[in-house]
Amino acid sequence: MMDKQLKIGPYTLSSRLIVGTGKYATLELMQQCHAASKSNCVTVAVRRERLVDKNSGRNILDFIDPKKYILLPNTAGCFTADEVVRVARLGRELLDGSGYQGAQWVKLECLGDTKTLLPEPLGTLEALKILVADGFHVLVYCSDDVMLCKRIKEAGAAAVMPAGSPIGSGQGVLNPNAIRIILEELKHNDPAYPIIVDAGVGTASDVAAAMEIGVDGVLLNTAIAGAQDPVKMAQAMALATEAGRLAGTAGRIPRKLYATASSPWEGRING
């Protein structure tokens, strides 16, 4: 099929799946999962250099090929607009001149508390405005509050990324109705505007169902990294993303209480 590619800000993705780099048992396993996921965009966090354990001089970038992957720096672990802006700028600095693509965008995460890791709407909007003014293309992790998503788009976000369910909860898209309205409201007269489901999916059918609703992509980490066989789950997610994209645009049959025959009635010998 000739599906048009997903463009977010200055970057073009070869897949509609964006994957994380956290929680892997080993960096080698992460690398295999990235390959299996068929994604060419991976999100990374910014943290202080460990100055002590020099035994592990291994850097995650040694396991991400700059020719194959676009990096999406995120502001995970930030709880205020100031923290978000500071981390976003450090992430840009890290990527600028690093040989990796990704310095021009950021995944904005401004969390409300350490327990639920749910997004904080006010800090999110405040940080978004500062980062947009600073020239960032901002992908915003947020709730499925329709009007909040509208404000986020109006404030200049490059993509709105509502959570299907809480980060790492594995519950999939708990409120497809909300996602449907978000698509209606944000894509009205602007069909190419990117809406990504970020966080919450647990398995392949969750991803397929999310894509069928009509979102432009899915971002996930725990569902792969936390599976018993992460590489296998990564393969499943790659296939499910494509399956959901195709099915969502193929015009599915309507749901009915029951039944229409798949075989013809005429010509039955027992008629």
Binding site: G22, T43, V44, E49, L51, K54
Partner: protein, 66 residues
Amino acid sequence: MEILLNGKKMEIPEKATIGELLALHKLAPVRVAVERNGEIVRRADFYTVRLAPQDQIEVVTLVGGG
């Protein structure tokens, strides 16, 4: 002289540059970003900017995340 590096006090040579500080810790400049007293120091300036006593330095890198 004493500086604060990633929240920890440490002694470093007088007038050391950021580049020298990174070298001390075997850190590849291309893999880090540096904040000096809250201001980002561009990578191009690592070898020209000299540290002063009590400077607060943050050296960050990329790690796995979702």
